[in-house]
Amino acid sequence: MSIEEQYRTRAKELLSGGAVKMVIGYGKGTTPSRRRPLFITSPDDVERLMLDDACITNLSGYLVSEGLLSDEKRVAVFLRPEGIRAVNILAAESQLDAEQIVIFGFDVSGNEVQALKGIHVEEFSDVIRSIKEGAPEADEEELFEKIEKMSPQERFSFWQEEFAKCIKCYACRQACPMCYCRRCIVDSNQPQWINTSSHSLGNFEWNIVRAFHLSGRCVECGNCDRACPVNIPLRLINHRMAEEVLGAFDHFAGMSKTQEPVLASFKKDDSETFIL
């Protein structure tokens, strides 16, 4: 039985027995290469679930949709390792109760889909540890290294050109499971902290604010990068910040549901005399 079939069967069992109220997975998209998020609430609909190498979007952001988990019922969700890490962070930041989340874990290498063993988020710690220790993907690194080798001035020009394309549609924010604020700082308009204008200053402000807010929290699922309609390589910014946080604090985001948020926790014996 394929993993897709196994997971459909499991989804049917869970929905029929009332163990979960919903399964968030992937379904057929507009084109043969596209998959779209799918919300299944009836056991009769599980055949619509798909699982293959085109299932890329990190679905964990839907878990914090307003009201979804407030009835304390369980929800099942298809997640890659990055998505599982995201659930850990959401739990650590008190955005959800990990007990309510049933995970259909999977990973993709090449065109092969592998099932990840486990149901609850704490059962995947070995997988997450192996990602922390594993080498980053080669193709991503190439552009990253190129930017790293640039002089500060060249790097500034690179990002200036990229951010000039930004239209402030906020697709990056909306696609990000970590951007769960009910009211983002850019939407606070009494007073208006951040310019709404999509001019060079406004675009820099937005993208830099987001990079800082994601430092030590980003799981590098790539949702923002793929959602960006003007193709800004946002993953590179987040990857840089993740490396920075890993080097400075040995903090790899989303290791466990009790991991302290690195920029929102304080230790008495901290060598710094202040916190930001």
Partner: protein, 337 residues
């Protein structure tokens, strides 16, 4: 016998238009995105795209535009109006859906208040459209009473010749004729075989959709919640849309000096309808998606007798969660059976 513009003459035309004082704008591929931008040479133009990622709207209604500068002193308030940068231009190689999108928005920008920012740019632009010879899975012009060679909103329609040799020139407006008079000596009179037009399949029954949308009973239909459940509420569909035209006016600066800007805004955002009291009449994403569809296919045509959609398909093509107008109207077509 018809007028023909051969591709190898285009660079001469660009040069001629430039020396006549026109800015030449066309589809280009830059920094990993395709858009319409000013060029110096024909070689910079990219004619192989189904259509650019960014719509032509940006040229008429930029994402952020200064309206006025202000200085407030103890006894006086000074304002200085900022009008759009003047100058005639020719947009060479627009797609029919983009050109018609501008014509769709004309009545909107002129019905109660004549938006000078829009009309100054409209009046100074010649739109030379190239009919489509290829389409992708997201194109839907034919479902909206348009076609790969629609002339709406264009000053000139170019029909590609077989073998990428050039274009047959259909002059549609005086403005177009005038711009092409400048390059008359580069045009040929002959009849050349045309490249086959793109085939865009009909994707939904527009009339049935409109009837369904106009029925007040369907306003609270469960359909809206179901179809928009995966909508993440970003604005990429509205910002890439050639006809979406909503904006916000913002003052940037301090109490004493600053600039008033007109910035794109989107019905996808919760903040779009947030009242000062904190109440939001469109508090859910489904209400916001319903608004977008209703606006395009019910309210806008109710006022201006034209749908606010030109069928470019960018909304679906770019959606991070694979939604869009096509799917919604296809589902509504099914409901109306």
């Amino acid at each position: 016998m018809t007028k023909i513009l051969f591709s190898d003459k285009l660079d001469k035309c660009v040069e001629r238009w430039k020396s006549a004082g026109l800015t030449v704008i066309g589809p280009v591929q830059r920094t990993n995105i395709s858009t319409y931008a000013a060029v110096d040479h024909a070689a910079e133009l990219e004619f192989g795209l189904v259509l650019p990622d960014r719509s032509i709207k940006d040229l008429f209604f930029p994402q952020s535009e200064p309206m006025l500068r202000y200085t407030i002193k103890k006894e006086s308030i000074n304002t200085e109006e900022c009008l759009p940068p003047a100058g005639p231009r020719i947009i060479f190689g627009a797609r029919p859906c983009d050109a018609s999108g501008m014509a769709i928005d004309d009545p909107l920008f002129g019905w109660d208040y004549k938006d000078e920012y829009w009309f100054q740019r409209r009046n100074e632009s010649v739109i030379v459209t190239i009919a489509c010879t290829k389409a992708d899975d997201f194109c839907m012009c034919t479902s909206l009473e348009m076609s790969p060679d629609s002339t709406k909103g264009s000053d000139i329609l170019l029909r590609p010749l077989a073998g990428n040799k050039g274009w047959q020139v259909d002059e549609l407006t005086d403005r177009g004729r005038e711009a092409f008079r400048t390059i008359a000596d580069f045009l040929h009179e002959s009849s050349e075989p045309l490249a086959p037009s793109a085939v865009v399949e009909n994707k939904f029954d527009l009339d049935a959709c409109v009837t369904w949308l106009k029925n007040p009973e369907n306003f609270e239909s469960r359909f809206w919640k179901e179809i928009s459940m995966r909508c993440i509420g970003c604005a990429s569909c509205t910002y890439l849309c050639p006809t979406c035209h909503c904006f916000d006016i913002q003052d940037e600066g301090d109490t004493y000096t600053g600039i008033r800007r007109k910035n794109w805004d989107s019905c996808s955002f919760a903040l779009f309808t947030m009242h000062t009291s904190g109440h939001n009449p469109r508090s859910t994403q489904s209400a916001r998606w319903r608004q977008r569809i209703m606006h395009k296919f019910n309210y806008f045509p109710g006022k201006f007798s034209v749908n606010s959609c030109s069928g470019c398909g960018r909304c679906s093509r770019q959606c991070p969660v694979d939604m869009g107008i096509t799917e919604t109207l296809q589902e509504i077509s099914k409901l109306s059976l």
